[in-house]
Amino acid sequence: MHLKNALCAGTALALVSATAAYAENLVIATVNNGDMIRMQGYTDDFTAKTGHTVEWVTLEENVLRQRVTTDITTKGGAFDIMTIGMYETPIWGANGWLVPLDDLSAEYDVDDILPAMRSGLSHDGTLYAAPFYGESSMVMYRTDLMEAAGLEMPDAPTWQFIREAAAAMDDPANDINGICLRGKAGWGEGGAFITVTANSFGARWFDEDWNAQFDQPEWKEALEFYVSLMNDYGPEGYATNGFNENLSLFQQGKCGMWIDATVAASFVTNPNDSTVADSVGFALAPNAEGVDKRSNWLWAWALAVPAGTQKADAAKEFIEWATSKEYIELVAENEGWANVPPGARTSLYETPEYQEVAFAQKTLDSINAANPQDPTVKPVPYVGIQFVAIPEFAGIATEVSQEFSAVYAGQQSIDEALEKAQAITNDAMEAAGYR
């Protein structure tokens, strides 16, 4: 009897300790956006399935970037999972700072990840971060104003048409700007927008030998077009407008068109926040006539496992849960299909219910039209559309975008800004040993 009790107790103890050893507490650094916050609310589902608990550290995008970069470069080990973007993933993957996600389970169906996303989050064909949500950029326009102007937005407009439409919709007397675009300094704000605009005019950041290309006519043409468009039909003070400022203007009915992240589509069509929710149409981002590249970018917020963590297996379990088809279904079931994280999985766009969402097809078309491996008309030595995936880019592009914003604010000429941009970029690239 004693032996039986002892055996039972021993087995129970072993089971408890085995479970305790297995159940991990994961610390996740993440960005403050709607989809990520929503995911935090479903963490209990993950805990119920795996036993692992989760602690969230939510930070604003720029703070998060600085925090996780410091942590991974100093091997701080403060986080088991990091939310990073398409810019960091290939660089960190190449440096060996991330755990490769090459052994995900068969049920996870890694081949279902949208090809553009998978390629942007890989290095040398190995996936280093799983996309939680992805976006491109597209034209959002007021269908009522377009109709009143007697114009019809093509599926794939040119910049020339956009200018024509902006002129037709611009109505200063009623406080309506023909078009709202980003002008705010910062590589991820106005810098991203002017880079993709330049791509669609045939420009590029670097030639194959890493020489800056701001002295080429395509950059000048792109900047001249943008500045003239915005000076004629844009809102006052556009030099300091970023995503949120334009979102606010569009939601209040003060923009005829807005070209920005596809994720904005769900905001501008949400009747709780937007006064124009039922009159928004979508089209692909424009290109200059005769140029074979559109001005749409590609971005993903993705989950990655830093190489320093001791909990890589549990972290991978979380990533599989958070970026799975089942998670999408869980959100759809509770909050409707319009609220599921977009832009990550092919199967989502094959779901009949999701196809009914107004902006679903244009979002997919925009994502598919973006190729980070081949972003420009002329050949380039880099990967990335609205950025160049090298560590030095964020610093350089922030400085360059400050020069451009000074042009938008009327503080210097386009020629002066391009000359400075050329010098800033070449100097930095030389110092970094590229040239």
Partner: protein, 276 residues
Amino acid sequence: MARAVTTRRKVITTAAAWAVGLLIFFPIYWTILTSFKTEAQAINDPPLFFNFDWTLENYTLVQQRSDYMRFLWNSVIIAGGSTLLGIIVAVPAAWSMAFVPSKRTKDILLWMLSTKMLPAVGVLYPISLLFVQFNLLDTRFGLIIVLMLINLPIIVWMLYTYFKEIPVDILEAARMDGAGLKEEILYVLTPMAVPGIASTILLNFILAWNEAFWTLNLTAANAGPLTAFIASYSSPEGLFFAKLSAASTMAIAPILILGWFSQKQLVRGLTFGAVK
């Protein structure tokens, strides 16, 4: 002879003082007001002053999303701990500089202050590596040490200024009465410098409470204070002003109340030595 002050001059001065006061207070007022709006109302153009439906929705959301009390407690411990530690280190330092100065005292004081001119990010990596090495990352103790060191020059400078106001003869008299160094500092100097020490404590508590570089960069899930709490409500993609304002109001409320009740000491401390 006192200058005669005309009524007109009085009115103008009072109005000007009110205008400056209101101007300084406006951002806080606007933050508090925005916290009671919906996200759509928060960005309304023209801005809404009173004519909107007041809501507590943002406070409810913030409480649901974040463990406010944990962040608050971390703030209290970190700000309180670093200030206390700073005072313990700074009182003897300021005493020696004020009463037994050497040839280099002035240089040392200036050198101490010059460390404040170095941008914090310049030492982010060395400090982070030290924190990793000594397992201090994401601990309150680590932050107490760092914030104490950052504010130490200010604490020493403030205390030095107050101590200089105290006549050295009193200390000498105490020494003649047989007081040792310990008695001199504890029973003679400190009681006389209480207002100065109190305002130093208060100012440094506020500085540590508001510090938002190290508290964000050296914490993760455990030791994050209210600055980390606020940082989680800003977003480059999506509307957040109302929720951010609610989080900010909750973060500044304790320090605002503390400052309100102790403003007399604070003003006295800050102007101590300015007029002789």
